[in-house]
């Protein structure tokens, strides 16, 4: 079920914005009216803009004392009725891990934006990397699934942030916008449509009255309706393993039922969640798999290879998690080799290798971070595997 965006949050028009600013506008257009954040380069501009914009739209920004506080304050706000998000980069992302697990376990719809920078640790605060990709999937303890989207332009920072809020409401889980420092700080044209052309997913509140509603009883799509706080539902929300009433019930049976559902509600719906871009895969000799800023460089390398007569296909990952396993398997059956390019020393390539299962060779072109690849590095790999 979808509605149109609230006009108050939509800055319709043609803008020249960097990714961070576009992301903020995407949040506002997507319905965000609460944000809690903590300054960290290169993400801070997102919340700085939100702090300036939201008081004239109708909402609240609060700078919290640390990322631990920010990552849970947004969840309190969600239960209070708002759409909420926070923004960070590597070191802050690490601090948020416990609360990402809380959001997954309590099925709290919220958005986390990670503008990735060089790591590990303090690393390269002002320079790009794509090295949090495994962390976003596995960073919190326990079994759970998340949704992670990778924009490769300021326009996509706007569009995919709107999508992130929609998916968060639809699947009642934390959703991640995995930007990187270059996408965050590059300035390009961003077209923001009129509100009637922006679809937003409203929160699916229960229609049952208090007393008849079980807070964690799933509907057919495996997602429970949300109760309204302050309306007499006497909801109990806990991070402990819980039954369908929301009451702690720490037994293996309940654990199995709950945790599998938390995974299945995303995995079984992955066809609707997986976004990607592919071109000229059929009959190709090589397919280049990439995402985020690296896909912009890869595009140039692909064109250079095609100019030299190589049939190169392209697969751009937009939804990194749940991993587009089916699509990668399909690609492996249509091509002779795959080149994976990312700004790290090997993260999403492992998923590609897993999905390919040795069917075709997978060549990795990595980089420890701090700058984007040069097209020549990628071209070299393409030419080598094409032979």
């Amino acid at each position: 079920m979808k509605m149109h965006a609230d006009p108050a949050g939509v800055l319709t028009g043609s803008h020249f914005l960097d990714g961070d600013h576009a992301c903020c506008e995407g949040a506002l257009a997507g319905g965000a009216r609460f944000s809690a954040g903590y300054p960290i380069t290169p993400s801070t501009e997102v919340v700085e803009r939100f702090a300036a914009r939201v008081p004239t739209v109708g909402g609240t920004f609060i700078q919290m004392e640390d990322e631990l506080a920010a990552s849970i304050a947004i969840q309190g706000a969600v239960w209070g009725g708002a759409k909420a998000f926070t923004v960070t980069s590597g070191p802050g992302f690490s601090l948020m891990m416990e609360h990402i697990g809380l959001a997954a376990m309590t099925e709290t719809p919220c958005v986390f934006v990670d503008v990735q920078r060089g790591g590990p640790s303090t690393g390269l605060p002002t320079l790009p990397a794509q090295a949090d990709m495994m962390q976003v999937r596995w960073g919190s303890h326990g079994d759970y699934e998340v949704i992670a989207l990778c924009p490769n332009s300021p326009q996509e920072c706007f569009d995919l942030t709107v999508t992130a809020f929609n998916m968060a409401e639809q699947y009642r889980c934390p959703v991640f916008v995995m930007m990187d420092e270059v996408v965050g700080h590059m300035t390009e044209k961003v077209v923001i449509p009129p509100p009637e052309q922006i679809e937003v997913t409203p929160r699916r509140y229960t229609l049952l009255p208090p007393g008849e509603f079980n807070a964690y009883e799933p509907r057919e799509d495996l997602v429970p309706d949300m109760p309204r706080v302050g309306e007499g539902y006497n909801v109990h929300v806990t991070g402990l393993t819980h039954d369908e009433r929301g009451y702690p019930n720490m037994t293996p049976d309940v654990q199995d039922k709950l945790v599998r559902r938390l995974q299945d509600k995303i995995l079984k719906n992955s066809d609707k969640i997986v976004l990607f871009e592919e071109a000229q895969v059929e009959g190709s000799e090589v397919v280049v798999v990439s995402y985020g800023i690296t896909s912009r460089v890869a595009q140039r390398a692909i064109e250079m290879a095609r100019d030299q007569g190589v049939k190169v296909g392209k697969f751009r990952i937009i939804t990194a998690w749940p991993f587009p396993e089916k699509k990668i398997k399909e690609i492996a059956s249509k091509t002779k080799a795959i080149v994976v390019v990312e700004l790290n020393l090997g993260q999403m390539v492992r998923e590609v290798e897993r999905a390919v299962s040795g069917k075709v060779p997978v060549r990795f072109v990595g980089h420890a971070g701090g700058s984007v690849h040069k097209p020549e590095q990628i071209l070299k790999a393409i030419m080598e595997v094409a032979r």
Partner: protein, 290 residues
């Protein structure tokens, strides 16, 4: 509040009866504090629909699971930032944070001082049993010197926090301490907090007979309650710098701080109006259904 049939405990409507009996040990004071809380809700005539309880992790953290209101059992130390988000997004809610000394002052210490500094309109009930009980009796920042705990098996030796002093310094507008012996005063303090705007803090000293008292041969819960009775001194208005606790010394109880200061929302509102005038759009309740 309607008259109850005579055979129902007046506290029953405030509890999730399908989860009673609770897990707290015999002689633990947390139940007594929840008992007082129920009575405070009755006397204050609080609209229960608008009440939200947020707790952290620990024995006291389990309170959220037993009270029959919208309740949130969050992560260790982070009840206050969760409550901050909840209150700011939905200001009509009456938000109570009910948690323990370790949760609020060790792992949660940073959030405690900032929530008090901001003067967010939250009512904080801190059950101080001087120990980390749920995990088996480890030292807490409130544990007095020269006692045995599981992580100080040869005796504690460092200083403990004086909670009222810390919270007053951080900016709270209401600071009181009672013990679980002081059932009426505890309930009255909770009731006072409900009608006061801003960051209100009540420390409730409670026995942990299974761990703190037992390991230190201080008797059981009843012995501790009698100890509270004999060693408490009511000093309303006492300077909080003078109310530190020790292993066997005097327990100063009372209402120490009751002052006026604009709460976070009022301050935010006033500043926005001052800076933005008509352009400021106030959101009373964030409503994401448009």
């Amino acid at each position: 509040m309607t008259t109850l049939p005579i055979h129902t405990n007046p506290t029953d409507p405030f509890l999730r009866m399908d989860r009673i009996p609770h897990i707290w040990c015999p002689g633990c004071g947390i139940g007594t504090s929840v008992n007082a809380f129920s009575r405070a809700l009755i006397d204050a005539k609080i609209d229960l629909k608008n009440l939200a309880i947020v707790s952290g992790i620990g024995c006291t953290g389990r309170v959220a699971g037993y009270v029959n209101q919208d309740s949130f059992h969050t992560t260790h130390g982070r009840a206050l930032p969760f409550a901050t988000g909840l209150k700011l997004a939905n200001p009509k809610l009456n938000v109570v944070v009910y948690s323990g000394d370790g949760d609020l002052f060790a792992i949660g210490g940073n959030h405690l001082i900032h929530a008090a500094r901001r003067n967010v309109d939250l009512k904080v009930i801190c059950i101080n049993n001087l120990i980390y009980a749920m995990t088996g009796g480890q030292t807490a920042p409130t544990t007095p010197g020269s006692v045995i705990t599981s992580t100080n098996p040869y005796g504690t030796f460092d200083s403990s926090f004086n909670l009222p002093y810390l919270v007053e310094a951080a900016g709270a507008v209401y600071v009181a301490r009672w013990t679980t012996f002081h059932v009426r005063q505890m309930a009255r303090a909770m009731q006072e907090m409900f009608s006061k705007k801003g960051f209100c803090f009540l420390e409730v000293l409670s026995p942990c007979p299974t761990l703190y008292q037992r390991r230190n041969k201080m008797g059981d819960g009843l012995d501790t309650m009698i100890f509270y009775k004999e060693h408490s001194k009511v000093r309303n208005g006492a300077p909080t710098s003078e109310v530190a606790l020790s292993k066997a010394g005097e327990i100063v109880v009372g209402k120490f701080v009751d002052r006026e200061r604009s709460d976070y929302r009022d301050l935010m509102h006033d500043k926005m109006v001052e800076s933005l005038g008509d352009r400021y759009v106030e959101s009373e309740v964030c409503e994401c259904e448009m």
